[in-house]
Symmetry: C2
Subunit: 498 residues, 2 copies
């Protein structure tokens, strides 16, 4: 560059014709004798020469191996974004030219029955929670009695332990009955009587969440009671619980808070925020509604036709076409997935947490950078991850299970819950969700070494495996299969417009 | 995270059932009295508690505004790449399902006449260069004579200048005739007698390059001669020229080297490499051939159908469809453009430079990061840029033109050359290339401020404007229009398969 900038300045300080450069030279020579006035002084510098050496040193092309510095490629990132926008804009235009506007609100058939049953199921949940509370209350009562009479002899202690153990068996049985009935009832009703998959999913999701909360509530209170009975042998409870020691946490208010709080892990006390910022709540809810509408439009206008057109392809098992369909669906399902994630985990849970003054908002960490499937499952859905860790993984490892076996158990449970969540509302137990989850174990094992690699390359490969396996293949394929099963069973498409 | 890792370690050091935790407690209490053997000592740590406080402190969601650190989004870059690959793979599958294999080598109709005329045109070029050499030789002879007789009186000098000026007018006239005849002849033959646009483009490109080299040769030698005649008034020539002072550079060998060298700027001496790395040459040529085939396949299989399908859309001016076509074409033309750039400027020019031992390989700088159109035009095609700067822009600024006016002139000349390069081989002077180039001036003015902005945002916007205007709209639109004009004139598509 040096030579050029040099040339530029030369060019700028000169200001006269090249053709008569020679005459000037003459005048320049003359001007040596006579006193040089401004114009001539100016003329002195007034010829441009076509002789600048633009090629003055050895230089490499910046893309060559032997180039000293590799250039930045930031521009290509912008290009990628633009190409993605352009390609999808084109698909939008294509879609409209093919189908026109497919969005219609009347098309939905919310059967009255679905609404009624759904509401009843929602209403039942608090009753079950009340039962759980009653169970804990009695157990707490028994514990208080025990502690009430201070006796220190070994056989007395022994009797206490006996009583406690029998109480726990009894309590555990009741809790199990209570929670399981709640979940089983919901599943039964949704599977057999609620046709609309949207409403069904809502009920099922709520039931599963409450079931998990119920388990956490029972386990945690059991060990709090244990600590209450044997303060001596106790390794010490977290300081944060000190403000609400054991029996005092067994209140309806406390349980109701846990029911509403955006967590699946019961604690007598949670970190709380000082106040509720209603503007924050409003913004988060606005985001949620906006994204919900966006997702609905996307699935109605873009996903639905793709799904519909793929039915016959799947029926005849035309691999090339199925592949093409999966790929076409992948972009849409990816966008829906990302929007859905943001709507639920960022917008809705934050709004809920703000209202509940729930302090710990870490509902997810930066899962999109996951360098392995393991990292992904630990980071994308923290509430479930924390539940599984506190009440399944750690206890099993505590019992001497190998971490691998324990994770196996975690994913099996998770797989069952996923299948319940997808299979029941769509009235199809085809096991895709189940095996999809189980398939995560080999993927985790496969990508674990990449995560540990030193350089960024391994992490990038791991990240790509995650995106491909999860978003570009797993999800759209799953959607296709459940939709196909639905079609095989009901043969109507309009109902999928949810 | 602290609380969790804590929980993990707890989980790991414990190794027994939670159900009978209480019995252990008892044993633990007992173990205080009797000497504790290993198993019991182990048991001391052997109960897991479901009480870990996973929600121990206030935390924000990482995507929230109030989060302390914004997370990295590197994962999304990988996702973008993958989505681009997936979307284009899908288009490839779609394309094959629609059209099957369109590539066929026999389909080409290289008319014998085209080949013959093309070869003749190529053969003519050296003759014109020989003429240019002859002209310079005579001029050099005259100069030598002048310097030969040493006389220092003013009127003698005056006569020298007179002679020189007349010589230059004469030389300039001959050079102009020689160069212009060469270019005009080629253009004429290509436009009227060479049907195949590929062969035509090659001939035309070669002719234009030689024309530019001719100009540079004439201008540079003129000023070298000038310096030779007036060493006293001379501001000094670049040191690099010292090894070959003026009259000695006027040799056939020197000119032939300039003809072959990958530059449009004549210098008596260039920085040279010590040796030729034939392996390097081989690799670059392999790259070039590979990319050429790639481009051919791409245009035959993907660009051709899109172009064909867009004919009727353009004919009826269906805006939505034209837009859709342009967008569909944009990705393909972008890939072709990038591949073509790499094939020519990285692979071919580097191979040529290596063979010629030409040292300055800076044929481009990192134009893909251009934050304005101005930067782009200065960086993507250095050979032409350097020519325009040395022989058009700088001289005009030297004559007192404003930089803006000078650039205007540069782009007008460049626009004419572009139209010649595209319009003549396609036998359609529709002026799209010309106005496309002229349109760069307002774009440069528009994006110049963005380039100067402090933050990265302005640069990003500028970069996006560059990509959109140039690659996503400009190029495919241009291609469409020239193809449409071609169809209107010849109505055959197969010939476009080049």
């Amino acid at each position: 560059m040096a030579s050029q900038t040099g040339a530029v300045t030369t060019a700028h300080e000169h200001s006269s014709a090249q053709a008569n450069g020679i005459t000037e030279n003459h005048q320049v020579d003359a001007s040596a004798s006579d006193p040089a006035p401004a114009p001539i002084g100016k003329k002195r510098h007034s010829k441009y020469r076509h002789v600048a050496a633009y090629h003055a040193q050895l230089r490499h092309s910046s893309l060559s191996r032997d180039a000293e510095v590799t250039p930045s490629f930031l521009g290509f990132r912008n290009l990628m974004v633009l190409v993605l926008v352009a390609m999808n804009l084109r698909l939008i235009i294509e879609n409209f030219m093919k189908y026109g506007v497919l969005i219609c609100i009347k098309c939905h058939d919310y059967r009255k029955q679905d609404i009624v049953l759904g509401s009843i199921l929602f209403a039942l949940v608090p009753c079950h929670l009340f039962l759980a509370y009653a169970i804990e209350l009695s157990a707490a009562g028994a514990a208080k009695q025990t502690v009430g009479q201070q006796k220190k002899s070994a056989e007395e202690k022994e009797r206490d332990q006996q009583r406690f153990r029998s109480t726990w068996r009894y309590t555990a049985l009741l809790h199990t009955l209570n929670a399981t009935i709640c979940l089983a009832l919901t599943s039964f009703v949704v599977y057999f009587y609620i046709h609309h998959p949207g409403i069904g999913t809502l009920c099922q999701l709520h039931a599963i969440i409450v079931w998990l909360k119920n388990c956490s509530y029972a386990f945690t209170n059991r060990d709090l009671r244990l600590a209450f009975l044997n303060p001596s042998a106790d390794p010490g409870l977290p300081e944060i619980y000190a403000t609400c020691p054991y029996p005092r946490n067994v209140t309806l208010k406390n349980l109701a808070y846990f029911w509403m709080a955006p967590t699946l892990v019961y604690q007598p006390v949670y970190p709380r925020t000082a106040s509720i910022r209603w503007s924050f709540v409003a913004k988060r809810l606005a985001e949620f509604v906006g994204l919900a509408v966006f997702i609905w439009l996307l699935s109605a206008q873009y996903a639905a036709p793709v799904l519909r057109n793929s039915i016959d392809k799947i029926a005849v098992m035309d691999i090339a076409s199925i592949l093409e369909r999966v790929m076409k669906l992948s972009t849409i399902s990816l966008i829906i997935w990302l929007a859905g994630f943001f709507a639920l985990f960022q917008a809705l849970l934050n709004a809920l947490a703000e209202v509940m003054q729930f302090g710990d908002r870490e509902f997810y960490t930066d899962w999109w950078n996951s360098s392995s499937l393991g990292v992904y499952w630990r980071s994308w859905n923290r509430p479930v991850y924390l539940f599984m860790k506190r009440h399944v993984y750690s206890p099993l490892v505590g019992r001497g299970w190998s971490p691998l076996a324990a994770s196996g158990m975690v994913f099996s449970l998770s797989a069952i819950l996923h299948e319940m969540l997808v299979g029941i509302p769509t009235h199809n137990f085809i096991g895709v969700a189940f095996f999809g989850m189980m398939f995560q174990l080999p993927l985790i094992a496969l990508t674990a070494p990449l995560e540990k690699m030193r350089g960024p390359q391994g992490k990038t490969i791991g990240n790509c495996i995650f995106w491909v396996s999860f978003c570009l293949v797993g999800q759209p394929l799953g959607a296709l299969l459940y939709f196909f099963a639905w079609q095989a069973k009901y043969g109507s498409v309009s109902r999928m417009r949810v």
